[in-house]
Amino acid sequence: MLPTISVFGLTIPVYGPLILIGCALGILVAVYLPVRRDIKKQDIFFCALYALIGVIVGAKLLYLAISLPSFIEAHAQTPWTLEDINVLFTHGFVFYGGLIGAVLGIFIYSKQYRLPFWHLTDSLIPSIPLMHAIGRIGCFCAGCCYGRAMNPPWGVYFRADSAAPPDVALFPVQLLESALNFILFIALFAYSRKPRADRQITGLYIACYGVIRFILEFFRGDGDRGILWLFSTSQWISLALVPLGLYWLIKIKSNNKPTL
């Protein structure tokens, strides 16, 4: 829709600033509207930065794991250029890889400074759907992660300079995912206002997002989805995460004492 903007004569992809705004808002929410009052604001901020590093590394690594074979296949006949390597590293991040990376980042921080891992995780989790929602608006602007071909009014036409095919009306699944993530953020935020046992907030998030992602994947129309047997890679990850989330949400509740 709006892949780039021009600022002082410099053409900037819209996706980057939106990701930046999402991260900044997510960290601000985590620091200034804390879920747990037993964690210092400074620790939440630093832990969020560790998680952010994990997001960058994890999202890129999973993307490379999924896409590298097709990339290598596409370049079987033609030699690799610097531009190809640049595209490989700057384009494409996988959300679930980022999520796993973020959890690893939080884990490293909690071990390094001997802080309770689940308190930190539960504190940062409500910010993730907020960041994700803003990021998906960036996807819509860039024209990536687009939906299946559908006739208007359900389908929209993307600009020729965007990543989506320009001559087909496509379902704006990015906006639907963004809206659902905003709703999930509000729900998580409301849920975390009351004292909750460890892992319950995280459990609610991964159960809800797993369901959302599993369904939305059927509406995706973009090319390389990393299909394994019946489902996409993200759907397989969702299938693993939903039962785990439900277990944490329901089982832990009965075993654990709520804390704030």
């Binding site: 892949p3 900037i12 992809p13 996706y15 980057g16 600033p17 990701i19 930046l20 991260c23 630093f46 930065l49 560790y50 952010l52 590093i53 960058i56 999202a59 993307y63 999924i66 896409s67 097709s70 990339f71 596409a74 595209v87 590293f89 700057t90 384009h91 494409g92 991040f93 996988v94 959300f95 980022g98 400074y113 994700h132 990021g135 998906r136 960036g138 996807c139 860039a142 990536c144 992660c145 687009y146 990543a163 995706r220 973009d222 090319g223 390389d224 989805r225 990393g226 890679t233």
Partner: protein
């Protein structure tokens, strides 16, 4: 009398995190420069610098550690704005692998 005061003066013990704070600040400056020249090197420097500045600030907060923290965050922010074209998904690769 004045000499006696000087004799009583105890110099502050050298901070253990001082070296880390300096390293973080230097890495931050380099990262901000490299982001425009060799962005990939810039990201690596910023990530290492960020971890070092957090470690330095956790040990003993100092101006240099804070400067390192800010510079490394700025370097990563510039990367996000300028370098990352798109996207949060696998799909983005499709237009570039020639389908």
């Amino acid at each position: 009398m004045e000499q006696q005061n000087y004799q009583n003066y105890q110099p502050a013990p050298p901070s253990q995190s001082n070296g880390m704070a300096i390293a973080a600040m230097v890495l931050g400056i380099c990262a901000v420069i490299f982001v425009f020249v060799l962005w990939f090197v810039g990201i690596i420097l910023a990530v290492v610098g960020l971890v070092l500045s957090i470690m330095a600030r956790k040990q003993s907060p100092s101006g240099m550690a804070t400067a390192g923290l800010v510079l490394n965050i700025v370097a990563l922010a510039i990367c996000a704005i300028v370098v990352i074209a798109c996207t949060a998904c696998v799909a983005s690769v499709a237009p570039f692998v020639g389908y």
